[in-house]
């Protein structure tokens, strides 16, 4: 028993160490060193980009997030917003920000809501048809970027001819305990895996918060609507493009995800939704995720052994907190400037990991997820179940 636990914890430890190391190596930079404006001829190399922003409601610090997209250092781009309806409070903010940047073409569209489709993809499909850029950059409302982020992403497109370019996500601007948990989990767990799986196995983990997509390659599938029946559209975009022979890559251009005032409830809900989707996408991979939670593993060793492994548990907890703290120092520049975050950190990590374990169990009891105002039942590959789509379901499983 003891040996088994030590082997499992060793595997876990090695991976987490590599993950932390990789993340530190590829941590966010102040500047990505994208090709600078050298001449007007060089500028012409950069294709027009359409930034597609599906919006629902007012996210934390939305105005500043939007403003960062208007300050991009890039020759030609437009920004298109899709909302459910004109009553959305975000409209006012979008208008206010866009009026300050009249040179950048802005379109706001009410795309409505489709009950049987992925609401985000429904909006993206709508925006795609109205956009003109050679490249489409999908960026969520709570994403904030640096002035050279787009240039850096397009550099990857120009250099390698990639059809999808994905990014690690920096969760930041924590103002509550739950926000600190959410942002730390994004930086350590999500982005750590995005970077490590790509570096070690060339597996793209595309996170929908930022995806730069070649419009012509997307057209091959018939556009965004190809993914409309699936909730994990980001993962499937990466998978479908890669399996179809298109290059999917990252040059580790980070984008920021602003989470200031998350509550424990919202944190749990979001994590539980993602967990259920990952479970439906790849069950063996999901089951092995427990290895990324050595704190709970060692705690269970304590429980199973009747308290014999307390020393092991304390050691594991200390190492885990240290690794996450190193990640915090390397990645989250904005949050490390607040003393309170440093003070809360040793307590936050164990609490987060216990919540993570509870989240981990949720897919075994439910296949429904709560998202954008409704409950959606999902099946294999995150397929959205709806009784009217009987024929599709028949062939999906074949």
């Amino acid at each position: 028993m003891k040996i088994a636990f030590i082997i499992i914890l060793s595997i876990s430890g090695v991976y987490l160490f590599i993950m932390t190391f990789m993340t530190i190596i590829h941590r966010p930079r102040r500047s990505y060193g994208g090709s600078r404006k050298s001449s007007s001829r060089a500028e012409l190399l950069y294709p027009p980009v359409s930034i597609l922003k599906p919006i629902r409601g007012v996210e934390d610090d939305l105005e500043a997030n939007l403003e960062s997209f208007y300050r991009l250092d890039y020759p030609v781009y437009e920004i298109l917003f899709a909302i459910d309806d004109w009553k959305d409070k975000a409209v006012e903010i979008i208008k206010r920000v866009s009026e300050n940047y009249p040179r950048i073409r802005t379109s706001i569209m009410a795309a409505g809501h489709h009950s049987t489709e992925n609401p985000k993809v429904h909006k993206l499909d709508f925006l795609e048809k109205q956009s003109y850029g050679r490249l489409l950059w999908v960026a969520d409302a709570n994403v904030r970027v640096e002035a050279d982020t787009l240039r850096s992403l397009v550099d990857e497109y120009l250099k390698n001819g990639s059809s999808v370019i994905f990014s690690p996500i920096m969760g930041t601007c924590s103002r509550t305990f739950a926000s600190l948990m959410e942002n730390t989990s994004l930086n350590f767990f999500t982005s750590g895996n995005v970077i490590s799986l790509w570096k070690l196995f060339s597996i793209p983990v595309v996170v929908g918060k930022s995806m730069l997509i070649d419009r012509l390659a997307l057209k091959t599938f018939g556009g965004f609507k190809y993914f409309k029946d699936y909730l994990a559209e980001d993962y499937l975009i990466g998978k479908s493009f890669q399996e179809s022979g298109f290059r999917v890559s990252t040059n580790f251009t980070w984008v920021s995800n602003i989470s200031q005032r998350a509550s424990l409830k919202s944190f749990f809900k979001r994590m539980a939704r993602w967990a259920r989707l990952r479970y439906q996408l790849n069950r063996p991979a999901y089951l092995s995720e427990i290895l990324l939670n050595p704190l709970v593993l060692s705690l269970s060793a304590v429980v199973v052994s009747g308290g014999r492994f307390w020393n092991l548990f304390l050691l594991v907890a200390a190492v885990k907190i240290l690794l996450e703290y190193l990640n915090f120092l390397a990645v989250n520049a904005r949050d490390r400037g607040r003393l309170v975050n440093h003070l809360l950190f040793p307590l936050m990590v164990p609490v987060k990991d216990v919540i993570f374990f509870a989240v981990y169990l949720t897919p075994f009891f439910s296949t429904s997820v709560e998202w954008r105002g409704g409950r959606i039942r999902v099946g294999k590959n995150s397929l959205i179940y709806h009784p009217s789509r009987h024929d599709k379901l028949v062939y999906e499983e074949a």
Partner: protein, 435 residues
């Protein structure tokens, strides 16, 4: 139920009071019945897919073959005693309650057309037991069929058969079906590819354009220009025409032919780039097949030809896919497919280039296509198709096959079935323009 059974039902959708019922899908069938259908479907698709792999794949294919085996027709004999498949189906209907809930979904008193035997036979049993007195039709989707398409006691059955060709009629008689229950309507083809029943306007326009594209050297027209003018109602003899032509390759519902796409693309690469050949790849409804096809296109560096000289026919909604397929069929000059239910599409004046058949019924579809000269076996391997397609076209063989399919294939199945349902009668004709 595979894609073929749904394709057969699709042209009849406008006759329906409700809609096409896909029995065993999410909305239709009791929950405990769905698992049977799901298991059957998955097994079929799996075995079809692995059929191309050595040893185990071949073994799996043999299992499919043995279940679907169709006994030799000659010497003629009484084949009415039930085989193992009939007994198995009877067991599933009786014990597992297969299709028990079907009548609940059917409007009262209206006739039903089935394109799959299981629901038809299950309903036939209920009709026998006085549960309903509706007309119960079974539309046959192949040029020959297994005994499982007929109930255990065919002489006592009230099940009526809509058959696509003479061989099926003969076969049904040998299985013991009463002659008055067999209607030689032909396979239902999409009316949007035909035009009106009396005029065949769409079909004639498309066929003439196709024949001109398929006969650049004029060899076919040297023999047949008078009969083409006569039957297509032309005032003067047709001239040979365009140098470009369009090939459609239909990847089966299970995706079994996806690998051939790679070889075809390799061979036709230059012709596609030069715009001499347009390739339509019918990927069906499975994302896996579409993505694999796109990968092959990428590997051949032909990505920039998508939506130019390469078109992908795909929708994850099966009925949208059929609509797209039928639309593209109008521009198709050669239909390269395994001899499935698509064999009957030769009646639209499409030469059928036959990929390897899967299963005994497809073997017999192939034989039927060869008999009426509407189907051609590829004279060489697919990796050299650019060479042999050019030869077949140059010597007029493809145009001949198109013409023979038009002459001998039954085109008006959809109209005849409609008339049969509405008026209780229909006419069997010999004229190529009326059958």
């Amino acid at each position: 139920m595979g894609l073929g059974h749904l394709r057969a039902a699709f042209p009849l959708r406008r006759l329906s009071e409700k809609e096409i019922i896909v029995w065993g899908s999410g909305r239709y069938a009791a929950p405990n019945e769905k698992k049977y259908w799901r298991a059957i479907r998955r097994t079929y698709y799996f075995l079809s897919r692995v059929g191309s792999y050595p040893v185990l794949g071949k073994l799996a294919l043999k299992i499919i073959m043995s279940i679907q085996k169709i006994p030799p027709f000659y010497p003629r004999k009484d084949l009415s005693s039930p085989n193992l498949a009939v007994k198995l189906l009877k067991f599933l209907i009786r014990r597992a309650g297969l299709c028990r809930k079907l009548p609940e979904y059917l409007p009262a008193g209206l006739p039903v057309i089935h394109t799959f035997y299981a629901t038809a036979i299950a309903l036939d049993r209920m009709v026998d037991r006085g549960h309903s007195n509706r007309d119960n039709y079974l539309l046959v989707c192949d040029a020959d069929i297994n005994r499982v398409w007929v109930p255990e006691k065919p002489a006592e059955s009230r099940l009526k058969y809509l058959v696509p060709c003479t061989q099926v009629k003969r076969r049904l008689l040998s299985y013991g079906v009463r002659p008055e229950n067999i209607y030689m309507t032909g396979f239902p083809l999409p009316v949007e590819n035909i035009g009106t029943e009396s005029g065949l306007e769409v079909l004639k326009i498309d066929l003439l354009a196709r024949l001109r594209r398929l006969d650049p050297g004029g060899k076919f027209f040297a023999y047949h220009s008078h009969s083409v003018s006569h039957l297509l109602g032309l005032k003067r003899a047709p001239e040979t025409g365009d140098s470009n032509f369009t090939v459609m390759f239909a990847i089966g519902g299970a995706g079994a032919q996806a690998e051939i796409v790679r070889l075809i693309l390799k061979s036709l690469n230059r012709s596609i780039q030069a715009g001499q050949v347009r390739l339509l790849l019918s990927c069906g409804v499975q994302r896996r097949v579409l993505e694999k096809t796109i990968r092959f296109i990428n590997q051949e560096g032909l990505w920039n030809q998508i939506d130019r000289n390469i078109h992908l026919i795909f929708s994850d909604d099966v009925f949208v896919y059929f609509e797209q397929f039928n639309r593209w069929l109008r521009q198709t000059d050669v239909l390269w497919t395994k001899p499935s239910e698509l064999s009957f599409y030769c009646a639209l004046g499409l030469p059928i280039l036959m990929a390897d058949p899967i299963g005994p019924q497809e073997e017999l579809n192939k034989r039927w296509l060869m008999e009426i000269h509407a189907g051609l076996m590829p004279p060489g391997p697919p990796e050299y198709c650019a060479e042999w397609l050019a030869d077949l076209r140059e010597n007029g063989r493809l145009a001949e096959a198109a013409w023979d399919g038009f002459l001998k294939g039954r085109k008006l199945g959809t109209y005849k079935i409609k008339k049969l349902l509405e008026q209780g009668q229909y006419s069997e004709e010999i004229s190529p323009l009326k059958q």
